[in-house]
């Protein structure tokens, strides 16, 4: 195995009995002794602790403060950043000239600067992209901090014991809170569909904080396996699978993330890479769209499964981009791209699994209702 990077929690994962796998260049826990299924259900019922330190944390500064950074970033991201409130966070993505997606990310207005979190596999490219595309903005990769996510209905009560005040935060609020574990950069967000927080701390505090959270009987460590089934049940895209450079935000059903002010007719319409295609698709529609899919029976339809309109004959009309078994919905679930005229809830099509065409229906996303504290 070529030189995997490790997070500050590597020793703790091993101590907890995790099975480690290479992921985005890091040695990461895929599951703990509890197993993927029980970890998933525990997170939905109580609270789960995730090590997401492999993700990229970046601070963007400019002499003109957040507003100047926001104005510059709007040239890379089709999101309303100038209108983002102080200590508020927003989901967005970098687009390319062809209107595809380079990465998805979280962007936070922290008063005098912007803080962004990007995917592990894309972080080097993202940082280079920002350095090249943001003139007058200092792009500082934060490499001495770890990142944890605490997700689930008990997350609020547990984190409140460590960082008093977090209970008052709303979904997508961000805060910097001084605690026994140093200053914690906290956002009320996550990628499981549950209420919860993402917490950045200096790397020397990562293990003490993780241990303090795990001391609560409500909290169990959760690996990448359950992280994937949780986000899929929540209908959330995984970069490199459900979205990539070949999918436009409109095809990916991410129109909601492009605020009115950046759309055709808005005060700051366009002005980001691929705007011509993306804005046109927003008005006239794309040819294909990302949908939820529920296979009949129990067999999961995994990434790459071709989708057909009929039980026999014909060419594929689309394909599955993520597929797994959903522990909460107790059945298989997938997401994939289909022609827009086949995207209505309940439309039946066929996924080819091991040479057999099995029936699958378009289903509403998310598969499980979101429990955000808005």
């Amino acid at each position: 195995m070529a030189d995997l990077e490790i997070t500050p929690l590597n020793a703790l994962h091993r101590e907890l009995g995790a099975r480690m796998v290479p992921f985005a260049g890091y040695d990461m826990p895929v599951q703990y002794p509890m197993g993927v299924m029980k970890e998933h259900l525990h997170c939905r019922a109580r609270a789960g602790l995730f090590d997401v330190s492999h993700m990229g944390q970046v601070i963007l500064r400019a002499p003109g403060g957040h507003a100047e950074v926001a104005r510059a970033m709007e040239a890379l991201v089709p999101v309303d950043l100038l209108g983002l409130g102080v200590m508020r966070q927003r989901y967005g993505f970098f687009t390319n000239e062809a209107g595809g997606i380079l990465d998805d990310l979280m962007l936070a207005n922290r008063g005098d600067h912007m803080f962004v979190v990007v995917n592990a596999a894309c972080k080097a490219d993202d940082i280079a992209h920002m350095r090249a595309g943001l003139s007058g903005v200092e792009v500082e990769a934060i490499t001495d901090r770890a990142l944890l996510a605490l997700q689930g209905p008990d997350a609020e009560a547990v984190l409140e014991t460590v960082a008093p005040g977090v209970a008052a935060m709303r979904f997508m609020d961000v805060g910097i809170i001084d605690t026994d574990f140093g200053d914690l950069w906290i956002s009320r967000s996550g990628y499981t569909g549950e209420d919860g927080y993402e917490i950045s701390m200096t790397e020397d505090q990562a293990e003490p904080l993780a241990r303090a959270l795990l001391e609560h009987e409500a909290v169990e460590p959760i690996g990448l396996g359950a992280r994937d089934s949780l986000r899929l049940e929540a209908g959330l895209c995984l970069y490199g699978h459900d979205i990539d450079t070949t999918t436009s935000p409109v095809e990916a059903s991410l129109n909601w993330a492009i605020q009115k002010v950046r759309r055709a007719g808005g005060d700051r319409a366009g002005g980001f890479p691929g705007a011509a295609r993306i804005l046109e698709e927003m008005q006239t529609g794309a040819e294909r769209t990302r949908v939820g899919l529920r296979p009949e029976g129990r067999a999961p339809m995994r990434e790459g499964t071709p989708l057909f309109a009929a039980a026999e004959g014909g060419d594929p009309v689309g394909h599955v981009t993520s597929g797994a078994f959903g522990p909460t919905i107790e059945g298989p679930m997938s997401m994939g791209y289909v022609p827009c005229d086949m995207a209505a809830e309940g439309v039946e099509m066929f996924g080819e699994v091991r040479g057999k065409r099995l029936p699958v229906r378009v289903a509403k996303l998310p598969f499980t209702p979101a429990n955000f504290k808005r």
Partner: protein, 119 residues
């Protein structure tokens, strides 16, 4: 009891052989969520892919460990695939096969050899 390099166990029961997967295999697979069994009456040849197991992680095949005819399958696993994790060496057997070349059993590992194989 005999074992294959594919982590199956085989137990002779009168003139048929009961086949399942080992504890080690079930741990490696993770939570099993789907099992597709062969049809009773199917004639199989050693190394035919005859069972599909999907775990939370991936799909895997179980190969026929010997030549013969499938005479019974464990239908319970279709509705309760999780039994493969709960009791892989007992209740969660996959199928019973009537060997056509009983001598093939002699080529398989015994328990001591299998334990050494999985290290």
């Amino acid at each position: 009891m005999k074992f294959t390099e594919e982590h199956e166990w085989l137990r002779a029961e009168d003139d048929v052989v009961v086949v399942g997967i080992t504890e080690h295999a079930s741990e490696q697979l993770g939570d099993v969520v789907f099992v597709e069994l062969p049809e009773v009456g199917t004639q199989v040849t050693k190394d035919d892919e005859i069972v599909v197991i999907e775990s939370v992680k991936a799909a895997s095949d179980i190969l026929a460990p010997i030549d013969g005819e499938i005479v019974e399958v464990n239908e319970v696993l279709t509705d309760e695939p999780g039994k493969v994790n709960d009791d892989p060496m007992g209740e969660a057997w996959f199928f019973k096969i009537k060997p056509s070349e009983p001598g093939q059993m002699d080529d398989l590992m015994d328990e001591a050899a299998y334990k050494k194989y999985i290290g």
